[in-house]
């Protein structure tokens, strides 16, 4: 072996080891980030669902409070509602102004993740008897993630 060749071989081996090590490190970091995002994402999803449920409760509460047909539960969405901190995260809910079928959209945020879910509340199909009135049930359908 000529002088210098051994040194070149050692350098080459070191470079290969360095490349492999850094690749593994990058892959590992991406994996960890992915796991963290997955964990936060699930939390965000349930916080977004909590927002939807909150909106349903608020809308229905306003019906129970006023108890007149022209204040049907899903007609009224107070401007003060819609944002809340919840369980270390937060949700934002919007309610469409349609009368018969309202669309609720809730965005939940937790850690590094954000999830958005929506559902439609049907006023036409579900009625039940309450306080002497036939009122629409707060029945959610068409749950979907956006």
């Amino acid at each position: 072996m000529k002088k210098g060749q051994a040194l070149l071989l050692v350098f080459f081996i070191f470079i290969v080891i360095g490349i492999v090590t850094s690749s593994l490190a990058v892959m590992w970091k991406a994996e960890v980030n992915s796991r963290v995002l997955e964990r936060d994402s699930l939390g965000a999803f349930y916080i977004a669902q909590a927002g939807i449920e909150y909106a349903k409760a608020v809308l229905y509460y306003h019906y129970d409070y006023w108890l007149y047909w022209y204040y049907w539960p899903l007609y009224y969405w107070p401007a003060s509602e819609g944002n809340a901190n919840f369980g270390g995260g937060s949700y934002t809910v919007t309610v469409s102004p349609d009368f018969w079928a309202k669309t609720l959209v809730s965005t939940g945020t937790y850690g590094k993740a954000t999830r958005k879910v929506s559902c439609t509340l049907d006023l036409n199909s579900y009625y039940y008897y309450n306080y002497g009135y036939y009122v629409p049930s707060v029945h959610a359908w068409s749950w979907q993630e956006q």
């Binding site: 964990r39 699930l42 909590a50 449920e53 909150y54």
Partner: protein
């Protein structure tokens, strides 16, 4: 100096370098394996919490007459196969009602107590611990009627995971 073979010094240097490389590689391998086991444990925890939360929220959403009996016990009514029945969720008490690290679900006839539900119980989640926030697992919303908050923490090997949501029964 003869060019045949290697000198003692060369062999010793080679052995030291080789030992260093093998030790480092072994260390990395062990660290990766431990990290993988930790990740797997966390995934199990997440799956566990998710399944229980999903099952409970779906059932409560379709139920009614919800009553937070105590912080770790919830009772509501549910129609199962056309019959109105009482459903219970509870955390075990370490005795008759099961392990404190589990959440159970039991169904009994309408008006039935926890004892009735306990005789027909199934496990919804394990690895359950007290919530770090000190909140109870089930609680009513502070200002809105008929809205219930579920907060469930599971933990294993010093790793914990908390899921929180809230649910409004259908009617």
């Amino acid at each position: 100096m003869s060019k045949k073979g290697f000198s003692l010094l060369e062999i010793m240097v080679a052995i030291v370098v080789f030992a260093f490389v093998v030790t480092s590689a072994g260390g990395v391998f062990i660290a990766v394996q431990r990290a993988w086991q930790r990740q797997k444990a966390i995934l199990d925890l997440i799956q566990n919490a998710r399944q229980a939360t999903e099952a409970m929220t779906n059932e409560i959403r379709n139920g009614g007459s919800v009553n937070v009996v105590s912080g770790d016990r919830l009772r509501f009514q549910l129609i199962i196969n056309g019959t109105l029945q009482t459903a219970w969720y509870w955390r075990g008490d370490g005795g008759t009602y099961g392990s404190t690290s589990s959440i159970f679900r039991g169904i009994c006839a309408i008006g039935g107590g926890l004892g009735n539900a306990n005789s027909n119980r199934q496990e919804l989640a394990n690895f359950v611990v007290n919530n770090p926030s000190t909140n109870t697992i089930f609680r009513s919303h502070s200002s809105l009627p008929n809205l219930y908050i579920i907060e469930l923490t599971v933990a294993q090997n010093n790793r914990s995971y908390t899921l929180r949501t809230q649910v409004r029964p259908r009617n």
